[in-house]
Symmetry: C2
Subunit: 613 residues, 2 copies
C-alpha cells in the first residue's frame, strides 16, 4: 500500500475549497489546517478499516470533534472512493447527507459533532467499548485547539488516563486561531505538552503539522499503545496552502467567492488525478454472541410497601443488566444515592465510574450507544443540567440513552434548591426524549422495562423518598399510557399527577370524597408522550382539570396537559399547581405544602373552582 499522500492531500484541499465555495458557506480554513493530518492518518497506513462498511467491529474509528471541518471529512471519503466526488457539490444543500456539520444521517460519520468539546468523550466511550470487548480497534479523535478550552475535554482526558485507554488517540489541530481571534494558549507546544502530561497522557508533538512524513510517523507512533492514551499536538496553520488564507484573521467560517476560489486553486495545482486512496483492512472480526433476553425485570412488591422509586429503578436496572448483556452502566459518583451501585457491581465489566463529571458521562454514553450498547446513566436530576448540551446532541447521533434522574423536585426536603431537579422535565421534553415518571416501585420496574425496549432517548424521573406501592402485578404499562386511579360518573374534577404528587392526589380525592366531592385521579406516568385520549375524555367529562407536579411551571406535566387540551379544543379550566416559590430547606412534607403542590392545595383549588360555578 503506497498512496501518494502529496497528491491525495492536494486533491482533498481542492475539494474542500470547491465544495464550500459552491455551498456559499462552510469553514474552508479550518479544513485546510488539518488536511495533511487527516490524509496522513487515513492513507498513511495507520488507520485500518473497511471504510465502506462503517459498522465493521474492528474498524478503527475517526471522530471529528471539530465538526465544522465536515467538508474535509467528506472529501477524504471521496478520495477513498467511498462516496462519489460529485456528491461533494451537494454540501449544505437541502436533502443532502453532507450537512454543514456531520450527523449520523451520513452513514460514515461516526458521531454527530458541531457543538465543540464533545468528540473526545464520545471517542472515550468508543475506545472503552473496544477495551471491554477486547477488540483491536483504535479510536482517533481530531480536535481544534479552540475547543480544548471546553472543560468537558479535561474530564475526558482525566477519565481516559484513569481507564488506561491506550487505544484512544486525540490529535489537537493547534492552528492558534479561533473564530474571533487567537486561542488562549496559541501554538505554545511546550505548554500543551505539560498540560497533557499532567493529566497522564503520552504526548507526541508534531512540529510541522503539514509535513506528511512527520505526520505519518506520528500517527504510527500514536497507534503503538503503551497503555496510556496519546495526545498528538499538531502545530498547524489555519488556511494552510493558500497564500491569502494562511493565518489570515477574519476568515473563520467564510467560503471563498468565485474569484477567490480561482486564485486559491492556483496555489494548489493538480496536474495528475490521484488514484483512489487505499486504507488497510482491519483484523478479521469473530462474532461473539452476547446474552440477550427479551425478558424484562419484574417487581416483587406488595401493595402498601414503602419504597422509593429511585431504589426500585436501581433494583430493576440491576436485574436488567444480567439479562441484557448490551446494557452498560454509568455513574457520576452518586451510585449509592441513585442505587445504580448494585448494577455496577453485577456488571463491573460493563460499568464506568465517571466521578463528578456529568458531561463526560453523557459523552461516553453516546459513544457506547454508537458502539451498539444500551447505556444507562444516572445522577441527581438537578445535575443532569450540567450535561444539557451533550444530551441535546445525543439524538443527532441517534443515541437512545436511558437516563435516570433521581432526587427530583422539592420533595427531596432539607438539602435545598441547589439539589432539586425542577427543570428536568422541561429539558428532556424539549429535546424530544420520552419522559417516564413512576409514582411507585411497581411502576418503576415496569417503566425500566419499557425504557429498555424503546429506541428513543428515555428519561426516567425518580423520587428520593419512599412512596407507597399502589399497583399490583396486573397493572398494564405503555409509553403514552396512564392509570385512572379514581373514577365515577359523578366526577366533578380531574386531578392529573405524576410521580410524587400521585399520592397527594389520591389523598386529596379520598378526603374530598368524604366531603361529598369526587375528583377523578389520573397517574400520568408517561409524561411524554402523554395519554391524550384519557386526559381529554376526563377533561370533557369533568370540566375542571387540576394538574399537580413537583417541577417548575414551564415545560413540565402541566404545560404538556395544556397543550393536549388546547390541541383537541377541549373546553375546560385548568388549574396548574407547580413549584412557583423559591424553596429553602424543610422536610419533604413541608416542601410540598409550601410549594402548594400537596393534598391540601388540591382540595383547596377544587373547592374554590367549584364554588365559582
Amino acid at each position: 500500500m503506497s498512496n501518494d499522500l502529496k497528491l491525495l492531500s492536494r486533491q482533498i484541499s481542492r475539494w474542500v475549497l470547491e465544495s464550500t465555495s459552491t455551498a456559499g458557506s462552510g469553514h474552508p480554513n479550518s479544513c485546510l489546517s488539518a488536511v495533511e493530518a487527516v490524509t496522513a492518518l487515513f492513507f498513511g497506513g495507520t488507520f485500518r478499516a473497511h471504510l465502506a462498511d462503517p459498522h465493521y467491529p474492528t474498524n478503527d474509528l475517526f471522530v471529528l470533534s471539530k465538526g465544522h471541518a465536515a467538508p474535509l471529512l467528506y472529501a477524504v471519503y471521496a478520495a477513498a472512493g467511498v462516496i462519489d466526488a460529485a456528491e461533494l457539490s451537494t454540501l449544505r444543500r437541502r436533502g443532502s447527507q453532507l450537512e454543514g456539520h456531520p450527523t449520523v444521517r451520513w452513514p460514515y460519520a461516526v458521531a454527530a459533532s458541531g457543538s465543540l468539546g464533545q468528540g473526545l468523550s464520545i471517542g472515550l466511550g468508543l475506545a472503552l467499548d473496544a477495551k471491554w470487548r477486547q477488540l483491536p480497534r483504535r479510536v482517533f479523535v481530531l480536535l481544534g485547539d479552540g475547543e480544548m478550552m471546553e472543560g468537558s475535554n479535561v474530564e475526558a482526558m482525566t477519565l481516559a488516563a484513569h481507564q488506561g485507554l491506550g487505544n484512544l488517540i486525540a490529535a489537537v489541530d493547534i492552528n492558534g486561531l479561533g473564530q474571533r481571534g487567537p486561542t488562549i494558549w496559541g501554538r505554545d507546544l511546550a505548554r500543551w505538552r505539560k498540560f497533557g502530561e499532567s493529566l497522564g497522557w503520552r504526548v507526541l508533538p508534531v512540529k510541522d503539522g503539514h509535513n506528511l512524513g512527520e505526520l505519518t510517523e506520528a500517527w504510527a507512533a500514536a497507534a503503538e499503545t503503551d497503555g496510556r492514551p496519546t495526545l498528538l499536538l499538531l502545530s498547524t496553520i489555519k488556511g494552510h496552502g493558500v497564500s491569502f488564507l494562511a493565518d489570515a484573521p477574519d476568515r473563520h467560517g467564510k467560503a471563498l467567492t468565485d474569484d477567490e476560489l480561482q486564485r486559491a486553486l492556483m496555489d494548489l495545482p493538480l496536474t495528475v488525478v490521484p488514484p483512489i486512496g487505499l486504507v488497510p483492512n482491519p483484523p478479521d472480526y469473530q462474532a461473539i454472541d452476547r446474552a440477550h433476553s427479551e425478558s424484562i425485570p419484574t417487581a416483587q412488591y406488595q401493595i402498601g410497601d414503602m419504597v422509593s422509586t429511585r431504589e426500585a429503578i436501581g433494583s430493576a436496572v440491576t436485574s436488567l443488566v444480567t439479562s441484557h448483556q448490551e446494557v452498560a452502566i454509568l455513574d457520576a459518583e452518586v451510585s449509592n444515592s441513585t442505587y445504580f451501585n448494585g448494577a455496577m457491581e453485577k456488571a463491573s465489566d460493563r460499568s464506568l465510574e465517571c466521578f463528578i463529571a456529568e458531561q463526560v458521562m453523557v459523552g461516553v454514553a453516546i459513544g457506547l450507544a454508537l458502539a451498539g450498547r444500551q447505556p444507562w446513566l444516572s445522577t441527581f436530576a438537578a445535575f443532569l443540567m450540567r450535561a444539557a448540551d451533550q444530551l441535546r446532541m445525543a439524538p443527532y447521533s441517534a443515541a437512545g440513552l436511558k437516563v435516570v434522574g433521581t432526587h427530583a423536585g422539592v420533595s427531596i426536603g432539607e438539602d435545598g434548591p441547589s439539589q432539586m431537579g425542577l427543570e428536568d422535565i422541561a429539558l428532556f421534553r424539549s429535546m424530544g426524549a420520552t419522559v417516564l415518571y413512576p409514582s411507585d416501585a411497581v411502576g418503576a420496574f415496569a417503566l425500566v422495562g419499557l425504557a429498555a425496549t424503546e429506541k428513543n432517548m428515555v428519561y426516567l424521573r425518580a423520587t428520593r423518598g419512599a412512596t407507597a406501592v399502589i399497583y399490583g402485578p396486573e397493572a398494564a404499562w405503555r409509553i403514552g399510557g396512564s392509570h385512572v386511579l379514581r373514577q365515577s360518573d359523578s366526577d366533578v374534577a380531574t386531578v392529573i399527577a405524576a410521580g410524587v404528587t400521585v399520592s397527594e392526589a389520591i389523598e386529596a380525592a379520598d378526603r374530598a370524597q368524604e366531603a361529598g366531592l369526587s375528583p377523578r385521579v389520573i397517574d400520568a406516568y408517561s409524561v411524554e408522550p402523554l395519554d391524550s385520549a384519557t386526559i381529554c375524555e376526563a377533561a370533557k367529562w369533568t370540566g375542571l382539570v387540576v394538574v399537580v407536579e413537583d417541577h417548575r411551571p414551564a415545560g413540565g406535566l402541566g404545560e404538556a396537559v395544556a397543550a393536549v387540551l388546547t390541541e383537541h379544543g377541549v373546553s375546560t379550566t385548568m388549574v396548574h399547581l407547580a413549584v412557583r416559590n423559591r424553596p429553602g430547606s424543610a422536610t419533604p412534607a413541608e416542601q410540598l405544602h409550601e410549594s402548594k403542590i400537596d393534598a391540601d392545595q388540591i382540595i383547596h383549588v377544587i373547592t374554590e373552582q367549584l364554588s365559582k360555578k
Copy 2:
C-alpha cells in the same frame, strides 16, 4: 490580634457535629475535613473583612464551592460572633436562613453553592471585578477534591491564569474521599501540583491540612500575590478529629445519631469557651462614582430596513455600555457573530473574553453580578445549553444576568442542527427567567433597554438572518407586553408568533386577506411573562388560535400560550406549529418550510381548521 485557633477550631467542629445531628442530616464529615483550614483562614490573620457588613467593598471574600460544608460556614460566622450560636440549631429547618447548602438568602453567603464545580468561576468573577476596580480585595475559594473533576474548574483555572488574577486563591480540600468512594487522584499531591502548574497557577502544597500553624502560614503566603492565581493543596482527612469518622467510608452526607454524637464530642473536648474570633479590618474604601444614566439606547432604524436582531442587540448593548458603567460584557469566542465585539471594544476595561468555555462565562457573570455589576453575556443559543446548570443556579445567587442567545432556531439555515438553539426558550422559562424575543431591530433595541432595568435574569433570543423593521419609534414596549399587528372585527383566527416567525405570520395574514380571510396577528415578543390579557381576548374573539414558533414544541411559546388559555378557561382550538422534524442543512427559507413554521403552513392550517367548522 491573636486568636486561639486551637480552641476556635474545636468549637467549630463541635458546632458542626451538633447542628447536623440536630438537623438529622447534613455532611459533618465533609466539614471536619476543612475545619482547621477555614479556621486558619478566617482567624489566622490573613482574611480581612468587616464580616458583619458583607457588602463592604474591600472585604476579602470567601466562596464555599463545596456547598455541602455549609454547616462549617455557619459555625465560623457563629465563632466570629456575627450570628448567634443558638441559630445553628435551626440548620436545615423550614424558615431558617441556614439552608442545607448556602444561598444568598443568608446575607453572609457570598454566593449560592451546592451544585459542585461552580464556585471557582464565581470567585474568578469576583476577583476580576476587584482587579477592574483596583480594590485590594482577595477572593478565597474552598473546593472539594471530588468536585475538581468537573471540567468547569479547569475552564476557570485556565482563564484566571490568563487574566493574571493574583488576588484569586483556590484551596482544594484533598481528603481523597467522594460520596461513594475514593476520588480519582486521591491524595497524590505531586500529581495535583503538576496539574495546577500546567495551567499557570502558583501551587502551594500543605502536607498536613489540619496543622493550624502550617495552614496559617500557607494562607498568608497565598495572599502574597505574584501575579498568578494560587492553588493551595490541602492534604486532609475526611471526618478528621473523630476516631470513628476519620477516613471512614460510607459516611458521606450522614449526620450522627445522638449516641454517636456523644462519642464524637468526647474526641473533641472543650473545657474553655473560646472568645469570639477576631478578623482584621480590610483597607478603608473610598467610594468612586460610576457613571450611570437612566437613559436607554434608542434605535435609529427606518421601517423596511433589513437588519438582523442579533446585530441590533449588539448595537444596543454597545450603546448601553457607555451610559451604564456597571454593565460588564462577556463573550465565549463568538463576539464577531453575536455582535458583542463593539461593546467589548468600547468597554475593554469591563469586558472578558472567555474563549470557547460557556460554563466559566456564566460562572464569572454570576460573580460579577454579586459584585454589583450587570453582566451581559452572549453566545449562540444552542451553546448556552453547555452552561445550563450554572444558569439554573444563578437565581439562587440572585444574579440577574442578561443573557443573549443568537442563531436561534432552524432559521440559521445551512449549519445544521448542532448549531440550532431549539430548546433554549424551554430552558430559560423553566428557570423562571424573563424571556424576550424581538422580531425586528427596533424591538431589539427596546428589549435591551427593558432588560437593563429588570432585576430578574433576562434571556434575549436573537435571529441570525436579517428581518424587516416593522416598528416605528412610537411603539411601546413592556415586559409582559405584545403587539397586535393585524386586527379587525371579522378576524377568524389569531396567529401568535415571536421573533423570526412574526414576518411569516404577517405574510400569511396578508395573503389570507387576499383570499377573504382575516387572521389577527400578535407579536408575543415577551414570551415570559406572556401578555395573557391580549392573548385571551383575541382567542375569545376569534376562536381558532395558531401559534408558530422556531423552537421545539415543548416549553416554548406554544405551551406558554396553551397554559394561559387553559388557565383562563378560554374555549378554543389551538394549532401549534413548531419544529417537530429533525432538520438538516438547507437555506433559512427551506428550513422554515420543512419544519412547517412558515407562511404557507399558517395559511394551510387556518384554511383547514375553518373548513372543519
